[in-house]
């Protein structure tokens, strides 16, 4: 049994962690820390957990745990680690962006099991990938592995609203967002560096731009990335390479039917689909931004950190509709 603590327990990603860990057969939740809600039942905030747990938000107790999930928000993990000394044996899974950049020898392993599984199994600290980054990287890894990224990569990715967190703002307002879509941070999204680093890990000579246009979708969960680039593989070759790359990765599937976002919502899966048009290889990649794009992947990393089956506790019922 793995003893778990959660920092920043009132946010979206902590809620998703709790929804998974409550039913995880080898996890025991020791504490869920929240400054703002301390002393209140966690089901007052995450109301769908009513009667599934009687945990209260509390202070952290680092002595009691084997692993700490940090869900504090971008920029706050660094601060947290400066202000707190954890016991040496406590492993860390950080869901923020703080330690994703790999250039600075920060001791964190980038927690994308589909590229770093062995490293993760031996690691103590995991920087859990971003949601857009996960979705797009899984679409590109087999190409990078084979040194096939020779030209610009074109990416349009539409995300559910939960990707923007729970803070209410003008662009999270239902009256505005309902039935509406819009572009934001085109060509400049902060996940671009993360994606490029991951590609370079497999294909160090990659030197073209990734033209990435993020879109705010009018749905709650999920990301669909549509990617294309020049590639001399036939579609059959590409499918074979992708299947081969992912054959030991239980959460990535290759489909031969055009996928849709809801096919993966409420699961830890990534579904990939390939088409060829002229010289262009098109890859469609869909994930649930809160699961494979955040908390589900965090649990996948926990399973690997502690030598458990990668899929333990992650056999989640899809939403379907």
């Amino acid at each position: 049994m793995v003893n778990v603590g959660i920092i920043g327990g009132a946010g979206y990603t902590a809620g998703e962690l709790l929804r998974i860990l409550i039913w995880h057969p080898q996890a025991h939740i020791n504490f869920v820390q929240s400054t703002s809600h301390r002393g209140h039942p966690i089901s007052d905030v995450h109301r769908d957990l009513l009667d599934e747990t009687n945990l209260m938000f509390s202070e952290a107790d680092f002595q009691a745990i084997d692993v700490l999930f940090i869900c504090s928000g971008h920029g706050k993990t660094k601060l947290f680690l400066e202000e707190n000394v954890l016991p040496a044996n406590v492993k860390i899974i950080d869901l923020s962006t703080d330690f994703r950049p790999r250039t600075n020898g920060n001791g964190f392993v980038y927690g994308l099991p589909e590229i770093n599984k062995e490293k993760i199994e031996r690691a103590d600290k995991i920087a859990n990938p971003g949601c857009f980054a996960t979705c797009i990287e899984l679409g590109l890894l087999p190409l990078a592995k084979e040194n096939k990224l020779k030209e610009e990569v074109h990416v349009n990715a539409i995300t559910g609203s939960t990707g923007a967190g729970q803070n209410p703002t003008s662009t999270s307002h239902f009256s505005w967002k309902n039935n509406n879509v819009s572009v934001y941070k085109a060509f400049t999204h902060q996940h671009l560096a993360e994606i490029t680093e991951t590609v370079l890990q497999l294909q160090p000579n990659f030197n073209k731009s990734i033209n990435f246009i993020p879109v705010r979708g009018n749905f709650s969960r999920g990301i669909m990335a549509t990617i294309y680039t020049d590639c001399d593989w036939s579609v059959e070759e590409a499918i074979e390479k992708y299947k081969s790359y992912y054959k030991n990765h239980p959460f990535v599937s290759i489909t031969n039917i055009v996928p849709d976002v809801k096919q993966v919502v409420n699961t830890n899966k990534c579904v990939l689909y390939l088409e060829k048009h002229g010289s262009k290889l098109m890859i469609i990649s869909v994930i649930d931004n809160l699961l494979k794009g955040a908390s589900g992947q965090a649990v996948q990393n926990m399973n690997l950190l502690f030598g458990m089956p990668e899929i333990l506790g992650l056999g989640l019922k899809p939403i379907g509709f």
Copy 2:
């Protein structure tokens, strides 16, 4: 040409007023006051008005206008009128709740043309009705007129999100509200008093309760109220009475097909539908909460105040889908 001023120009109801008045053949907008946005183009806030107007948010100039629409929010109109002296000839249409209670001789006429048309035509100050109130009252007026409200009245009404205004809150957050419905203020909604007063105007002996359950719908615009009560009319009689009551009221229609909310979205219409089951007469009433439930009705009142055709500028294209 009627010269118009608007107070509180950045909110939802002011935006709707502007969308109507810009194309109104007999209205000229003199100023749109907003404390928070003064000096900025109104199309920076109401972005769909880009290139349809070059008006800027400004201070008020009461000397220049014939009518003032007050869109400041509930409780603020009283304050405004205490702090400002308007020229005697300036008529007022207030969209807040402040002057809707009729018991206190406040000089405001309740601006529901389907019960008070003649009074409105002679009035100087209009208290524009609430959105739920309008929808439900239009469903009850013919019954009250004929003294038929003898038993409890049961009302369930579901509203679009714009009814709650533009302030971002946890219950206006897209991630929560999307695909979600919930009850609020059951049996205690503030429009109940307004509805009861209107019913009593036509049927002073009404002394039963109106059991009103408001529901937050996961759509932006519209209200559907489902109403039933005991009534000894046959459905044919009821339809005849309703048609007769509304024959001189151009915005109320009686349909013989079960209506849906989108049938009236983006119009100033109210569509009513009647069924009889045992002793119960059921009335379904649908309106657009921002138009017949707010700004459209305000323009309808303006038309009546200035002796113009009631429908002028209100021939609006429905959304359809």
Copy 3:
């Protein structure tokens, strides 16, 4: 291990059964019958099951199973049972309306565990309740148990689109239904008889009408029923009675915060909430129409039929957002 067969495997309820049973620790799916899709992978139809199963739609093999789920659609179970002879040991869980009426001694037990748990444990054939019926009955059972239904019961219930099945029609068309709500079958819905029979089982002297207005909601999953009737309990008494009634029923929770539909979506839970206004007790009841309202309850019944823990395989991650 319970060997399972499914008839009518291509529909919504069969899909939900499969999503649950694939991860159920004591269920083995022997066949999924479908006339229209025989020979194709079930993940071609239920695409979110890609790589979670390699089952194909096939013919039925009644010798191989312990329990048969019939998902064929209303009216077809009777026909099926006339045309097929099942081995004596095969238990049946029927998801259609065909055997829900209890007046005719048809050998089926009405599969609402919260009223019939012991009967279900000893049964061979289960008539799985309707979705509206489940949601409304769970709101009424504690009142009926205490003989408290003395006056008319008022019910407004809004349902997700999946309640209407997968056949594409004008009222299931996205362009129409999106952002739209409408009433259907007011006072005449076919579940009324089912609800009344269940109430009479606990309170045989109940002789008032249940005024039931069903509403088509613009969301995919979930039902929210708002119910009220005269009752002399205080709200505290009512809450105590409800908690007491449901204390051995793991899927029913009493909340003290107004619930919303998404709180239970993708779970087998029913959440109940109580308020008192004057003489009226109001009950809000929310369920997922495809789970507690159909396939989740069917699995709950299977668990009871075979002496397994009631919640086995039903620890489902809620959708949350």
Copy 4:
């Protein structure tokens, strides 16, 4: 007054035409033909027109009209014109794809006023552009005009569900489409040829591919196209060129705030927005697919055909929310 006839009156585009023409000050609707609904009120099908018209679906009477709108569906206009002889003076506006290809000297003028205004003013027959085509072409015209399309053009465009028409199918089913997005016809959409022809009209040397990925959005109305290509203009130059190109075109606006789809829903407007990133010029173009993308543009063409102001009857209230 222009006398109007409509063929194929029961579909989405005919409904939109009617919603506009009923309030058009210089249009009189003589007949609305529909084979399937002949003899029924048009408000039985287009229910939001209840009490706004008492027109019935009828047979066509070509002698009575000045202009015929053909809304029959793709492939049927050719058939219609083979089977019917129209009086010489009757002008035609065809909303299908049948006569959009311009290579065959078919006598139809491509009805995009922003490139062909003078031709349209002198024309008798108009091929009304496609919705995706309109949205994307308006984003490209100023570049083509200045001979600036030198490299591949990358286009991702997401459309509302009404673009797929009213026939209910599995991909128009609310339960599937709600909260869902998916790609279709990537790189092969039938509007590509139309777009390329229009670009070539202004820049005959254009010989690169337009990589076009259409996406099904989970909203009813609107298209957002995101376009980018290499261009040596600065963003300031680009904005100036675009403003200059469209200065005499009242329905095209250039915004300096990232636009969203709802900004134009229920209007005939196209809003364009420009950004520059490295060598890439990005253009975002939003329209309402049923208005500027179909029926609104058809009325705009009617206005030009008959020498009326281009915006007559097209001062439509935006939906806003």
